[in-house]
């Protein structure tokens, strides 16, 4: 019998190793697995590479991990937002590395890894600083940069409903990066609002099929 549900947050994040690349879902508060971030802080893994659209706000969640010195590097599209104080301090002090990736390319690079591909040719950033140092080529008169897959050791995602097979559905724009991150990591861990019976999510409406999920934990709210 397949049952990927775990009892608590500690079990959910057990075994995440120092140095892991962690794909962190959510866009702002929507779809952000805050309970998993708190659990990862508790768990203690350090020297992490974090992938998220932003670089945390306030002093909890992703920012909490950074404030505790657990994050070596962040790969994101937009580190500065109102409230990204922890990141900005660390950045000024040279205590955190930043890899800046255009938002769609961030997502596409993770999909590339998920799909077992070796890279893709992107028109984004051509002629800009973000293309510097990247291999470039022209095809049919248009210039592209070669972008590489971005794979996670772990993905932390948030969904609305989840069943024991790991099938997930999301709510509205809380979908965002979560489905792709779940596909792109060796260990995909989901925080769901509500466990439901197998079959309760309409097969047409499963957005993340269980094959991509390794563990799920119920966290209301």
């Amino acid at each position: 019998m397949i049952d990927k549900r775990v009892k608590n947050l500690a079990d959910a994040v057990a075994g995440i190793k120092d140095g892991a690349t962690v794909l962190c879902g959510g866009f702002g508060g929507a779809g952000s697995p805050e309970a998993l971030y708190a659990a990862l802080l508790e768990q203690g893994a350090r020297d992490l590479v974090v992938v998220n659209n932003n670089a945390g706000t306030g002093r909890t969640g992703l920012a909490g991990l950074m404030a505790a010195g657990r994050v070596r590097k962040i790969i994101c599209s937009y580190p500065r937002s109102s409230g990204s104080v922890v990141f900005e301090e660390l950045y000024k002090e040279g205590k955190i590395e930043l890899e800046l990736v255009p938002q769609g390319i961030l997502s596409e690079r993770m999909r590339c890894a998920a799909a077992g591909l070796g890279g893709f040719l992107s028109p984004v950033g051509i002629g800009t600083q973000l293309a510097e140092g990247k291999e470039e080529r022209e095809i049919d008169g248009r210039r592209y940069v070669l972008e590489k897959p971005l794979r996670g050791d772990v993905a932390l995602v948030k969904a609305d409903r989840g069943d024991r097979w790991g099938n997930l559905s999301y709510n509205k724009s809380a979908r965002n990066f979560n489905p792709t991150m779940a596909q792109a990591a060796a260990l995909a861990i989901a925080q769901v609002r509500r466990f439901v019976e197998l079959g309760e999510i309409d097969p047409e409406q499963v957005i993340t099929p269980g094959i991509f999920i390794d563990r799920l934990v119920e966290v209301p709210g």
């Binding site: 508060g29 929507a30 599209s77 580190p79 255009p102 938002q103 769609g104 051509i126 999301y170 724009s173």
Partner: protein, 222 residues
């Protein structure tokens, strides 16, 4: 009188045809959502996977799972739908959007766009979806104040700030004028009534040409 920000947004909105799919950049372009022309179905896309962004919700209707690219609560119009980020950017990068309305630091007369970083080493740069949008939408228009607060022109011969994308901007809406980017450079289509062409040129780094049918730029009071 120069237009205020809402009036710039209003003017840009007038050019949106019935049935177009549009992405609105963060800041000034987002205000376009509030002044869409009546009687047209204009479908707004948001990078985070919302197609059919509706007006801001009432205080009691806020759902924090439904936000726009600026992370403000929004609603979904009837006929709207959700996709994940990767599919949202497939839509953006694959020329499926008719239009993106973007903000800018600078636009050059060759259509170069600079809207992601001033290059100030004290601050970490942020690009967001700007570069994807700039190369991906079928057409790019920019909404911007004609000069900075200090009076420095934003319409330039060449961009001084790092580029977002080269040669992509087709039209610019400012508080003073509507300017097209043509093969021959900037062409003024409309300008506000109480400024003369020389004065407009003085606020613009690159050379301006006057459209043969130059019109008055005006907007209702907001």
């Amino acid at each position: 009188m120069p237009l205020n920000r809402k009036q710039i947004a209003w003017r840009a909105a007038q050019d949106l045809a019935d049935g177009v799919y549009v992405n609105l950049g963060i800041g000034l372009p987002t205000m376009v959502a509030d002044v869409l022309p009546e009687g047209r179905e204009i479908v707004l896309q948001s990078e985070n996977g919302v197609l059919g962004v509706g007006p801001a919700p009432g205080a009691n209707e806020i759902d924090l799972d439904l936000v726009n690219a600026g992370k403000q609560p929004v609603t979904l119009v009837t006929g709207g739908s959700y996709v994940h980020h990767t599919d949202s950017f497939l839509m953006i990068r694959g020329h499926h959007l008719d239009l993106a309305l973007l903000g800018a630091f600078e636009v050059a007369e060759n259509g170069d766009l600079a809207n992601w970083t001033t290059g100030d080493p004290k601050f970490p740069p942020g690009v967001g979806g700007a570069m994807d949008l700039a190369v991906g939408a079928k057409e790019i228009r920019v909404l911007v104040e004609h000069t900075t607060r200090g009076g420095t022109p934003r319409l330039r011969r060449r961009c001084g700030y790092p580029l977002t994308a080269a040669g992509v901007v087709r039209r610019i809406y400012t508080d003073l004028a509507v300017v097209d980017v043509t093969a021959e450079g900037f062409l003024v289509r409309e300008m506000v009534e109480d400024i003369d062409f020389a004065a407009l040129q003085a606020k613009t780094e690159a050379e301006l040409r006057k459209a043969p049918d130059l019109k008055v730029l005006e907007a209702p009071p907001f």
